[in-house]
């Protein structure tokens, strides 16, 4: 075991998979010689050569399209899109091609592509370096969608994603690359070495896709969340004093309905939290699922706390970000509902 931040954990996952499986290749903008703008692929090209770790032209549609072709020809490509905000030129290749290739060829062709991309705000990135577009991808049948909240899960899930024969879009919440973030930008940064999930095995292991995890057991109410917000919710729960059960969803598609619903049926109250905009967001899918499965166990209306329905504003990121205060308010509101 070693302490790793999320960048090191993701790097270790790719290092191990490049070592174990000669079919694995990494491609993306600045990922090779430079090691990526967030350093996630640092050292990999030096170790495995420029035919395994490829710098690419600046063309997200080209990166994903080429990854599909490589996947069809027997490789296991891991494509990096430098920011999730830049993924849209590759969107057609994801939606119309990557997601449907197996289906439209009745299984004769498929492309086991992993698309890694940093997402989320809190780094003064403005509207083009802060987005959380996961819901757009969960709406597309044929791709799996994952977002880890800590180094241990990040490494184990990325290895699972690379090994998966289906395409996976793997969102990395960049605000927590270097440490868990509780939503208070005025506090000094905390390193992952202070967090139990910063302890990461150096070798191979997997965290299964499609499994949510109860990260805090509680009996008063259930909070369903993922990514950076797991840590913000933990802080808000401490602030509120309620004995909340917190579930880290981890995989959005396929969704671990059992873990989510077991928790909500137990507590009878539920708050859903994500950083992305609320309208048509992934929280809406969660709420609908919970309502269908847990309606007779619910004691209060389910509440959502999300980013506002505006683009991510540069100057107001902390007013936009659904922080502890808004989450604590929702917890109280759900607890005090009749």
């Amino acid at each position: 075991m070693a302490y790793m931040n999320m960048v090191q954990a993701l790097n270790s996952a790719m290092d191990i998979m490049l070592q174990r499986d000669p079919r694995v290749v990494i491609l993306g903008e600045d990922v090779g010689y430079f090691g990526g703008v967030f350093r996630v692929t640092d050292g990999l090209q030096r170790k495995y050569g420029e035919h395994r770790v490829l710098d690419t032209p600046i063309a997200e549609g080209g990166i994903i399209g080429a990854a599909i072709g490589m996947g069809v020809n027997g490789l296991k490509p891991v494509a990096e899109i430098q920011f999730a905000d830049y993924i849209y030129p590759g969107f057609d290749q994801v939606v119309s091609e990557l997601a449907r290739l197996r289906y439209r060829t009745a299984g004769e062709f498929s492309a086991p592509v992993t698309v890694r991309t940093p997402c989320g705000g809190g780094i003064r990135g403005g509207q083009t370096h802060s987005q959380s577009p996961e819901a757009i991808f969960t709406h597309v049948s044929g791709i799996k969608v994952v977002m880890p909240s800590n180094p241990y899960d990040a490494k184990g899930l990325l290895i699972s994603a690379i090994e998966d024969d289906d395409p996976v879009v793997f969102f990395e919440p960049k605000r927590i690359y270097n440490g868990p973030f509780d939503g208070d930008p005025h506090k000094p940064a905390v390193p992952w070495s202070s967090h139990p999930r910063g302890e990461v095995p150096e070798g191979y292991y997997t965290v299964p896709i499609s499994r949510a995890e109860v990260v805090r057991e509680g009996k008063d109410l259930t909070v369903l969340t993922y990514g950076t917000m797991v840590h913000v919710v933990e802080a808000a729960v401490r602030l509120s004093g309620f004995d909340a059960e917190i579930v880290d969803i981890r995989t959005m598609v396929p969704l671990d309905v059992d873990t989510l619903c077991t928790s909500v049926c137990k507590t009878g109250r539920c708050v859903v939290v994500h950083e992305a905009t609320g309208f048509g967001g992934f929280g809406a899918e969660i709420v609908a699922t919970i309502q269908e499965a847990c309606f007779w166990n619910l004691e209060a209306p389910i509440q959502r706390v999300t980013g506002w329905d505006t683009p991510y504003p540069h100057a107001f990121e902390w007013e936009y970000f659904p922080g502890q205060a808004r989450i604590a308010q929702a917890l109280k509101s759900v607890m005090e509902a009749a």
Partner: protein, 437 residues
């Protein structure tokens, strides 16, 4: 005979620790490239895409057919614009390092590309820049205070705090909004130009992308549309050799010029010394005249060098030799124009130093004015509830509701001083707000 294919991976000629090597940059002597009539069909002028249009020679003299014969007072204005752009960039970089703005991107070494084009075009021509053409704002006279206020996201910010630094826009100055996404402005500029032609106007559009961004599909959309409709547009590719850590070979610059992309689409391609003010000016003038005469688009590749980091988030010492800029064969655009003016007897080292000081003082004065409107950390602050405006022309009910929620939350937070006894009352108050909300 080798019967297997082998993947080629481009590599720059020099990495950190290596001697800079620009032998791959194909040069032509100043004055050597012929200047065709603006009505010449594209098929007859494909050589222009593979040579290098240069006007200023090694003796600081303007030579050849492409010499635009700009008079000395105008050249002095050009020098001033380029120097002011650099002084502004240098100051904003320092300010970012002090933590007073979140981000910045310098245009050091590329000032001639924006300034010369800006001066050769007419005020009503519409500009669609990428993020490294701040010289266009200097030419068109936007106050530096306004640009600084945008970088500060303060109460005088044209973007109302919504965009990262340098993502300016200026409707009155006919400069389009800068996007953080790459090359998106290229097809938009083609559409603007098509509209000008539909309306029968003589305004043209000009847009800029970096050579790295030519890999994006948007670049190719723009060339296709501009060519098909003979849109009155100048499509500028700023080849500054580096796209963050990725050298120009990764955009396809190893086996062909970027200008040469033009003729493939039926568009003339001019390859120009981007550090030569006069060459950029002349090429822009030629393309603008052609466009105004219904001759359609021109692609101009500006061969230059990104002397600074990609942005304040970048560290180029990790991927290229530190002394590369000193070895750049096309020099520094400001030094070259300065020497030319001195050679003409229209400038001197003394005047140059005095102007540098004057511009630095001007930048300082603008900064003092800008911070009066607030900084990220010191008031006055923009009202955060304005973030809900302009999502739509009229605010829909769900956004109006969210705005009220944020207002209530902020009022509550303002009423509670951290660590005070009132903080203990948060629970009750929060509850009442939540119910009202």
């Amino acid at each position: 005979m080798n019967q297997r294919s082998r993947l080629h991976v481009p590599n720059p000629p020099a990495r950190p620790g290596d001697k800079p090597d620009f032998s791959y940059v194909r040069l032509s002597p100043a004055g050597a490239v012929p200047k065709p009539d603006v009505t010449t069909p594209v098929g007859e002028i494909t050589d222009l895409a593979n040579s290098l249009i240069r006007v200023l020679d090694d003796n600081d003299t303007a030579v050849g057919a492409w010499n635009p014969h700009v008079d000395a007072p105008e050249l002095q204005v050009a020098l001033r614009h380029m120097m002011l752009t650099r002084a502004f960039d240098d100051r904003m970089q320092k300010i970012q390092r002090q933590g007073r703005i979140s981000f910045y991107m310098k245009s050091t070494g590329e000032e001639a590309v924006a300034v010369a084009a800006g001066m050769a075009l007419r005020p009503m021509d519409m500009l669609f820049p990428a993020y490294r053409q701040q010289g266009l704002y200097v030419v068109r006279g936007r106050s530096l205070t306004d640009l600084m206020c945008q970088c500060l996201s303060n109460t005088n910010d044209m973007c109302k705090g919504r965009q990262m630094p340098v993502m300016y826009h200026w409707a009155k100055g006919n400069i389009f909004s800068i996007s953080g996404n790459l090359a998106t402005q290229f097809p938009q500029a083609a559409g603007w130009a098509m509209a000008a032609a539909i309306k029968g106007e003589d305004h043209i559009a000009a847009s800029w992308v970096g050579e790295g961004s030519t890999a994006e599909a948007d670049f190719h959309y723009a060339l296709t549309f501009a060519s098909v409709y003979r849109a009155p547009i100048i499509l500028n590719v700023v080849n500054n050799q580096w796209a963050i850590s990725t050298f120009q070979g990764f955009a396809g610059g190893e086996r062909g010029t970027f200008a040469a992309r033009g003729p493939g689409y039926g568009i003339p391609g001019l390859r120009v010394d981007g550090n030569d003010f006069l060459a950029v000016y002349a090429a822009t003038q030629w393309a603008a005249e052609r466009a105004r005469m219904s001759g359609g688009p021109t692609l101009i590749e500006h061969v230059t060098y990104r002397a600074a980091a990609h942005s304040t988030s970048d560290d180029p010492s990790r991927y290229r030799p530190k002394e590369e800029w000193q070895a750049w064969p096309l020099g520094d655009p400001i030094v070259r124009l300065k020497k030319h003016l001195i050679a003409l007897g229209e400038w001197s080292e003394e005047r140059h130093t005095a102007l540098e000081k004057e511009l630095e003082a001007h930048v300082t004065a603008c900064w003092k004015e800008a911070v009066k409107f607030g900084t990220l950390t010191e008031g006055p602050f923009l009202d955060a509830t304005t973030m809900f405006e302009d999502v739509y022309k009229q605010m829909p009910p769900h956004l109006a509701r969210q705005r009220e929620e944020l207002k209530a939350l902020r009022a509550l937070q303002a009423s509670i001083k951290p660590g005070s006894s009132e903080e203990a009352e948060l629970d009750a108050q929060t509850q009442s707000v939540a119910k009202e909300g």
